[in-house]
Amino acid sequence: MGRKLTITEQMLANESNSSPPTPDTKFIAWKKQKAKEMFEKMCIRINQRIDVKKFRKRYNIIEDRTLEFYIKGMEDVDTGFVFKDGRVRTIKKIADKPTVVFKCSEDVFLRMATKEITLAQAYFWGWIDVIGENALRDYEIFNEMFNEYGSEIFE
């Protein structure tokens, strides 16, 4: 029995079944793959470097939290995060209602990924929509994640 395809692979397979790949569809698939990898690497790094239990205590986060990035055009990329049992992991799809969803465009996401702006700035400027419990303390988690990753890549 073969390996179960990931959503991205399924999407790529569907795309290749339905229409021949064009430079655009290839570019989109490539971008999604890179974004997926980025989120996964961010989780690995933050788990290596930061004790989420302590982090939660520091920011008075009592409950486990499910945070999701909703990047327009990248809905099928694993952009959800679960903070549970002191670990962070990405999830493909958030089954229950997420604690909070950050909706933004790809441009805004990339500006955050490159550390040009912070999540908080994007929120204050109205560049992202926040749905759910908007606890500004969550922003620090993302700042740490983007910083951990962005520092290595873009500095």
Binding site: F27, M38, A113, F124, W125, G126, L136, R137, E140
Partner: protein
Amino acid sequence: MPMKYDVVIVGSGPAGQIAAETILSKSSMSVLIIDANPEDYEKPCGGGIPNDCLKEFPFLKRIVRHKTNEIVARYKDTDRPFPIEINMVPRMSMRKLLFRRLRSLDTPDLALGYMFNTRVTKVKRKEHMVILNDKFEVEYKWLIGADGVNSVVGKSIGFKIQKVPIIVAHAKVEPAIHKNTRCVIEFIEDFRGYWWVFPKGCHSNIGLGGDVKGRILKQMFDERVKEHAKLGPFEEIYRSAHLIPSAYNTEQKPYQIDDGHILLCGDAASFINSMTGEGIYYALVGGREAAQVILGERLLSEYPSFHEYLTRIQSLKNDLDKQSIKDAFDRIFCDERTSRDMVDFLFSHSIPKPKALSDDEKKAIYSKL
């Protein structure tokens, strides 16, 4: 026969004065300034203006008496300092300076009139006329309402303003206790507002403003002053109370053109940063922009230019108001980076426009991910 002016400005605060100056310096229109207060009226306020304001209006630099380089946000025992420069300006000096600038424009050809201690009692929009002290009529082509939170001009077009009382005092205090280089903004449990201490060199400007009845605010202020006086030598030398807008009116336009040619600015237009209470910057910029609309230099749809910014601030304020003061403070100030971003935003006076990335730029970024 009624007097006739091209532009009648009701209110001679910063908004009205700057509007008059802008019109007179760029056109030959006749301008009449009417104020219910005397020429030497001093409006109570904190009198702190941020650097952005000095950049826009550099002539104000000459009346800066004191500078602080830090704002401390305080809640109970927690202090959060932010490195923001605030320039302390005596309101009376600003008023005098703006009048001097206006009078310096006055020539025999220039029609500039002043009427102090004169109340506008009615606005007849259709006739383009204001009634003064229930007796005299003045006809206008344009009417600027810069007459504060209880604006008669604003009422004539149905403009709504939410108001809160503030109490401001000047006090001689012990400099060692009240560091002369920092402004303190202190939040109080179950109180939508804040207590402030702005050092001004030789004295401190202290105040309290928030969403309670004036009588209760006075009691709270007296208690605070008592607490303060325990810290060291303290002498209150002046006290005054006033109403300011508490929210930016995001629903109504601060103008009506069809049958009145009326523009509002300053407190009359609720031009206020509802999170910080800052109003002078918006009064000055709003006054200038109202004049630009009259001069044909600015589209009415672009008035005021800071509409989007103040609307965003108001939206953030509405979100915070749903929480207790403790929760709000915890959430904003739990993290240094986020709270710094917020304070920077609150003093930025604008929202940057998101620049779209090209495919090549995206490719370059994704390649690195």
